[in-house]
């Protein structure tokens, strides 16, 4: 089982978090699951970020994500860490390949994916992930199949928007007009994630 999937950047800012297990602390006082989740993200970042580039991609889970059975499997692409927390029923190398498939799929869906894509379209990233992993279990590993389903859903969404979507589109067009007064407040580098050519899974 995959217990959680986390994506955060080099500074530990979460870009996506998906927990397949409720992390609500049981002993009183009850801690909100959001707080626990943030703690887990921080802890994981702390564990992962201090590791060198050329060490192995596995490490024993932190205290919160817990249990000797669990393991963190991660990959580091450009500015982002992709971390999967899994238990012993998952194959370590298999999950590494899955991360690769995930990133390649993102790359395909966003066309040269970069951190900004993940920030502004986190819902889309969730949708892509939902086609790969469901409830903590791997659903699909074939990239073409995933992309097909995503495309079909996007098409469905577009057709639904139809006329009703017109004003919204107009609004966003107006909003995105290049007004000189709008401060450019995007301050992270637009570095696209380079997907290295690793031996693909299939």
């Amino acid at each position: 089982m995959i217990k959680a999937i986390l994506i955060f950047n080099n500074h530990g800012k979460p870009r996506l978090s998906k927990f397949y297990q409720p992390y609500v602390s049981t002993p009183p006082p009850p801690i909100r699951s959001e707080d626990t989740q943030q703690q887990i993200i921080r802890e994981t970042f702390h564990l992962v970020s201090k590791r060198d580039e050329n060490v192995c991609n596995f490490l024993e889970g932190g205290l919160l994500i817990g249990g000797s059975d669990n393991k963190l499997i991660y990959r580091h692409y450009a500015t982002l860490y992709f971390v999967f927390c899994v238990d012993s029923s998952e194959s370590e190398l298999g999950i590494l390949d899955l991360i690769q498939v995930f990133v390649e799929t993102l790359d395909k869906c966003f066309e040269n994916v970069c951190e900004l894509d993940l920030i502004f379209h986190v819902d889309k990233v969730h949708n892509i992930l939902a086609e790969m992993v469901m409830g903590g279990m791997v659903l699909e590993t074939n990239m073409n199949e995933i992309v097909t389903q995503i495309d079909a859903q996007n098409k469905l969404e577009k057709s639904e928007a139809g006329l009703a979507g017109a004003p919204a589109r107009a609004v966003s067009a107006v909003k995105n007009m290049n007004l000189p007064e709008i401060p450019r407040n995007i301050n992270i580098g637009d570095i696209s994630i380079k997907v290295p050519n690793l031996p693909s899974f299939k």
Binding site: M1, L16, K18, P22, R32, S33, E34, D35, Q37, R51, D52, V55, C56, N57, F58, E60, S89, S91, E92, L93, G94, L96, D97, I119, F120, H121, V122, D123, H126, N127, A130, M134, G135, G136, M137, V138, L139, E140, T141, N142, Q149, A152, Q153, L156, E157, E160, A161, A164, P167, A168, V171, V174, K175, L179, E181, N185, I186, N187, P199, F201
Partner: protein, 1206 residues
């Protein structure tokens, strides 16, 4: 500027989307954002709401609590448009959990979405549900999801299959009803669905492997046929789970079977992940096999070698995994891993912490008596080098773990261990001070011979100042002072200079220590004091005794002022005591006896679970009142008075009964005897330390002279001392070896002189190393008649325990999944509605019928279970049946004769028994044993036997069970005569095999009717276009297939042949010949027997259970063609009639109502065949539906033949 204003108003008119939110947050305006979202949620426009919810999802990721918007999330979930629905479900999956109360509002909405015509609506609902399913949702929706498992779209099917695991977890009752369908999905045409089913079953089997053992053949087939690496990895992992699942391997034969395909995969795959998992499972197999078979050490070695290559790889990931796999071998084969100690130690130097930790794990299992000192020395060096405290702490715990494992098994020299512990106290800033302390205490208490040394070390620790200084940190190293003080106090008789230690313990700086340590100090000061008094009084030195008292009187007040209550209380109590003693001393009265009486008696270690294991004596009710509770009317001050009075009469401290002199002598004698027999015991070396032998109870401890080449005190400022022990130990071992060699030589000479020669080989093994001290490791005390149980390790709250369900048991009526009934009007279109009347109708039925029905079902289930068990046994048997997929040997498989089997192993006997039961009618009383078995089997209540009943026979059983009042069914056998001559009689039966498409197995029983010996039997068949005999590889179509046994006179045996069938819609006939050599006293002749093999369409059917809902769906689907027959003049009861159809035509009853029954079967090529059998007055009509009309009409024709005989 104008443009900007326009834009602003539009912004207000329409909402801000996610992108804006992100920008807003970047400008640090979170609160504003949330206010805006709250505004948007109040609007009626669903698009605005959805947008707001989308933004909330983003905020949730950043750690904001959005549970207040849960109701809005539900609103968006129920939006008709997919776009919004998706947003809603995503938000729900991110923030809903079991405590969210609006979840119960979603049940109907989710049900509606699940049955939505759009596959993406369904998909999104399934995805969302998988994250927030609760026990209630699981119960209410289980049936809907189960229906979706047979959806036409694979996209839905795979999601539905996956989510079932979550449903099982939350609602374990659903597992048994859903399992058959889940199993079916393992063979789904879509690889994605297949993979999902494998996934779910793997998760289930991981927790409760034994329930899934019966699926092994199916998984085996997938393993050899699948090309999807994910599926393969999962299956291979499952295999190792099945092997490792219990402490003892569940099924040893499974392992043997697995080796071959696994090695094939290892050779063929290019994916490293798959390769690794294969190696891993091969290891598991070898480990599980090794218990029974001796010569697997070579294979283990091979695996270890392979892993070594992985570990030496430059890829850190492979290195890590190699070490991980190595630790698995370690558990059972520590010796083969120990050879690679160098490599593991090398990994300790790796820069990668994950790898270092793995290597440490390995070390734990690699130590032996021989190398412990060396390894620990190496680890100590790492402790010095390690900079991060986390890793250093890890090292520390590992050192302690390694040394203390299995009751200090590997420690030969406890002095060395104590000095290691003392060295570890140098670690500043560790969090494991208490661990070291616990070890010191444990060793000092349990190893009596070491106490003297321990006390000397501990007093040095107490003396040194640096530990006290580090008292600020909680659980810090100062914890060891707790142990040191206690040891010095408790075993004060061993102290060299008790006064000095006493002074050290009363220093003012001690008051800076944590309270609990001070408390121990105070208590043990008195123990020391008692020892000093005793010593001085014996020496007649009353001056020194009074000095000691004076010291205490002066120093104790500093503890009396302590803020810690415990310390304060103890100190003031003791201060008064000492003052009293002082008064007595002034009168020159001897006090030592009385003071030391305070601490008389031995302390023994007690096992941590001892209290729990005390059995409650019979007749004792712990909950009952001992005395009736006092009524209020009684005066309140009376009772306490009585208690007080009681207490007074008791002596202050009970001294243990004086050791019974006789008993003591007896024990001493026994121990001496034991020591004399023990070759490792160093026999009474003259010891100068006679002094402490005087104390009663300790004198039997063998005393070894402490080698004074190692200074007793900790020298200077923390010089590592353990190294010297290592050197000493080496010398000692060398000496020992020399001595042993000398002895051996003498022995050999003696042997040579004697007539017989002893050829035992002497090798230096681990066990040859004698411990330096004869250590008497005191075992932990357990109460008398403690109940041995390991139950207490199980966590009663483990959610997976609920899933430990026997899947082979038949389904009871009560186990049906709850189906939604009326109440919700909006789901009237959904299929569940049809079930409602059925349920109601059932309840109206007379009770008797219901019972009968239930019984029948149970019977059927039993048959299924029996069949399944049979399958597995058959599949695992050493002589593989025709279904075995190994391509090299498709030709002939024969089961071995029963006596032969008996010789092999016990499990073979069982199989032989099974075989005996398979065709009892055909060979009555050939073997006495078989007959005996058969007799037994006929006893209806013999449960064990009925389980074992062959499926063919068993088919008749359920009906017998269900209809006890009706006439018994005549015995049935599906074996029919093939050909016969004076030499041999051939009977045969045809079975479709589940394992391989389009293959059938012909089981042929050959019976020698002559007095000749029949050998070199060969079977040949003239293949037709449609049916071919599977021959061994490399032989031509004209070659015969040899029968793998010979027949002595009067013996029968069964051989199996596999045929490949192209089209199964028509019956087939094949001509064939059996040739053999008949040998008798007069000579041998070559003989032939021709036969015609008839394959009826029935033989292509496989008994497959089917549930009524699936059956109904099948009939509704409309792609089945229909045909019917009617047979008149039937006298047999309907019950028996059904049994006959079940038995001869491989059908199973789906449902039976009065004199009408629906039946189902499936062909080896996947055709569904449904029957509706109705019984009239004297006639029976059968309506059939099937995918193939030709097949159906042929089947019905055959059935007509069967029924005509009734």
């Amino acid at each position: 500027m104008a443009l900007k204003m326009v834009k602003g108003s539009i912004d207000r008119m329409f909402d801000k989307n996610l992108q804006d939110l992100v920008r807003g947050i970047r400008n640090h305006k979170e609160d504003e954002c949330i206010d805006e979202i709250k505004q948007e949620l109040k609007q009626d426009n669903i698009a605005v709401k959805a947008n707001a919810v989308c933004k909330l999802t983003y905020l949730q990721m950043l750690g904001y609590d959005i549970s207040w918007a849960a109701f809005n999330v539900v609103e968006v979930m129920s939006a008709p448009k997919f776009t919004f629905k998706r947003i809603g479900y995503l938000a729900a999956s991110q923030c809903f959990h079991e405590g969210t109360d609006v979840i119960m509002l979603t049940t109907n909405q989710i049900r509606k979405d699940l049955s939505s015509p759009s596959q993406y609506d369904t998909g999104v609902a399934l995805t969302g549900l998988s994250c927030f399913v609760t026990p209630d949702l699981a119960r209410d929706l289980a049936n809907d999801i189960m229906t979706l498992m047979s959806h036409t779209k694979p996209y839905i099917r795979k999601k539905a299959v996956l989510i079932m695991y979550k449903v099982f977890l939350k609602y374990p009752e659903s597992l048994r009803p859903a399992f058959p369908r889940l199993k079916e999905k393992l063979e789904d045409p879509d690889p994605g669905v297949q993979s999902a089913a494998v996934n779910v079953i793997c998760e289930l089997a991981r927790r409760n492997p034994k329930n899934y053992l019966s699926l092994a053949p199916l998984f085996f087939k997938l393993m050899t046929s699948s090309t999807n690496n994910w599926v393969l990895i999962k299956i291979i992992k499952l295999a190792s789970d099945l092997l490792f699942g219990a402490l003892t391997p569940l099924e040893p034969r499974l392992g043997k079977k697995l080796i071959e395909p696994l090695t094939n995969l290892i050779h063929s795959t290019s994916a490293m992940s798959l390769l690794y998992e294969c190696v891993n499972t091969v290891i598991a197999v070898l480990i599980s096999l090794s218990s029974g078979m001796p010569n697997h050490s070579a294979s283990i070695q091979l695996c270890v070698q392979k892993l070594r290559i992985l570990i030496e790889d430059s890829d850190q990931n492979l290195k890590y995994l190699g070490l991980l796999a190595m630790s698995k071998i370690l558990r059972t084969h520590p010796k083969s891993v120990q050879a690679h100690k160098d490599l593991v130690l090398q990994c300790l130097d790796d820069k990668d912490e994950s790898i270092r930790l793995r290597a440490l794990d390995l070390l734990y299992g690699m130590v032996s008596k021989k190398n412990l000192m060396e390894i620990v020395k190496k680890l100590m060096m790492h402790v010095d080098k390690a900079e991060g405290t986390a890793y250093r702490d890890e090292l520390l715990t590992k050192i302690i773990d390694i040394c203390s494992q299995s009751n200090y098994q590997h420690i030969t020299n406890f002095e060395w261990y104590i000095s290691i512990l003392v060295e570890l106290t140098r670690l500043e800033g560790t969090r494991h001070g208490h661990l070291i302390a616990a070890q010191m205490l444990d060793v000092a208490i349990r190893v009596k011979a070491i106490r003297r040394f321990a006390v000397s070390q501990m007093s040095a620790l107490l003396d040194s100042a640096h530990l006290v200084a580090s008292s600020t940190q909680r659980n810090g190293i100062c914890e060891v002072l707790y142990a040191a003080a206690w040891i010095c106090g408790e075993f004060s008789e061993h102290l060299q200079e008790p006064q000095r230690t006493l002074e050290a313990m009363l220093r003012p700086r001690v008051t800076t220590l944590p309270g609990h340590i001070q408390a121990v100090y105070v208590q043990n000061v008195v123990k020391l004091y008692a020892a000093i008094l005793q010593q001085k009084e014996q020496a007649g030195d009353s001056q020194a005794a009074q000095e000691a008292t004076q010291l205490l009187v002066e120093r104790l007040p500093q503890f009396v002022q302590s803020a810690d209550l415990e310390v304060q209380e103890r100190a003031s109590c003791i201060l008064q005591l000492v003052k009293h003693v002082q008064k007595l001393q002034a009168k020159d009265m001897p006090v030592a006896e009385e003071v030391s009486a305070l601490f008389a008696g031995e302390l023994n270690p007690v096992a941590p679970k001892a209290q729990k294991k005390v059995p409650v004596p019979e007749g004792l009710d712990l909950d009952a009142w001992i005395n009736e509770p006092l009524s209020d009317s009684e005066s309140e001050d009376e009772a306490p008075k009585a208690i007080f009075h009681d207490e007074e009469q008791r002596p202050a401290k009970q001294r243990p009964p004086e050791a019974d002199e006789q008993e003591l002598a007896r024990r001493r004698e026994a121990r001496k005897q034991e020591q004399a027999n023990n070759p490792f015991y160093i026999k009474s070396s003259p010891s100068p330390q006679k002094r402490y032998q005087d104390t009663p109870g300790v004198d039997h401890i063998p005393v070894v002279q402490i080698d004074l080449s190692v200074p007793l005190k900790v020298p200077g400022k923390w010089m590592p001392m353990s190294d010297q022990y290592v050197k000493l130990e080496e010398e000692r071992r060398h000496q020992q070896r020399l001595e042993k060699d000398r002895k051996r030589k003498k022995k050999r000479e003696r042997e040579r002189r004697g007539t017989r020669r002893h050829s035992s080989l002497h090798t230096e093994s681990d066990e040859d190393i004698a411990p330096a001290q004869r250590v008497d490791i005191v075992t932990e005390e357990m109460p008398e008649n403690a109940l041995p149980s390991d139950e207490d390790d199980k966590d009663p709250n483990d959610p997976y325990r609920a899933l430990d369900i026997d899947l082979d048991k038949p389904l009871a009526d009560s186990e049906k999944l709850p189906v939604q009934k009326h109440r919700n009007a909006e789901t009237s279109k959904s299929p569940e509605k049809e079930d409602v009347p059925v349920v109601e109708k059932k309840s109206k039925k007379p009770k008797k019928k219901e019972k009968q029905h239930k019984e029948k079902e149970r019977g059927r289930g039993k048959k299924e279970a029996a069949g399944r068990g049979e399958d597995l046994d058959f599949w695992l048997s050493t002589t593989p049946p025709a279904a075995a997929p190994a391509p090299e040997e498709p030709g002939v498989k024969a089961s071995v004769t029963a006596p032969e089997e008996e010789r092999e192993e016990p499990q073979g006997e069982e199989q032989a028994a099974d075989e005996g039961e398979q065709d009892p009618e055909k060979k009555p009383s050939k073997h006495k044993k078989k007959k005996h078995k058969k007799d037994k089997e006929e006893r209806p209540k013999d449960k064990k036997k009925s389980r074992k009943k062959a499926s063919r026979e068993g088919a008749a059983e359920p009906v017998e069970n269900g209809a006890l009042d009706e006439e018994p069914l005549p015995p049935m056998s599906s074996y029919c005569l093939l050909a016969e001559n004076s030499y041999i009689k051939m009977t045969y039966d045809i079975q479709g095999s589940l394992q391989e498409d389009s293959r059938v197995t012909v089981s042929m029983v050959l019976e020698n009717q002559s007095s000749s010996f029949l050998k070199s039997m060969e079977l040949n068949v003239l293949d037709s276009l449609n049916a071919r005999l599977a021959r061994p590889e490399g032989s031509s179509v004209h070659d015969g297939v040899p029968v793998p046994f010979q027949l002595p006179p009067g013996i029968s045996n069964e051989a199996q042949f596999v045929f490949t069938i192209q089209s199964i819609v028509m019956a087939q006939k094949l001509k064939g010949t059996l040739s053999f050599i008949a040998k008798n006293d007069e000579g041998s002749t070559h003989e032939k027997l021709d036969f015609k093999l008839h394959f009826p369409c029935t033989s292509y059917l496989i008994t497959t259970p089917c549930y009524s809902d699936a059956f109904a769906k099948l009939l509704e689907s409309g792609d089945l063609s229909m045909s019917s027959i009617k047979v008149d003049g039937i006298s047999m009861s309907f019950q028996n009639l059904l049994a006959k159809i079940c038995f001869h035509h491989h059908f199973s009853v789906v449902e039976r109502v009065d004199s009408c029954a629906s039946m189902y079967s499936r062909s080896i090529q996947g055709h569904h065949v449904c029957l509706l059998v109705k019984k009239g007055e004297k006639s029976v009509s059968v309506d059939g539906k099937c995918n193939d009309s030709t097949l159906l009409s042929n089947l019905l024709e055959e059935m007509k033949g069967t029924l005509a005989q009734c």
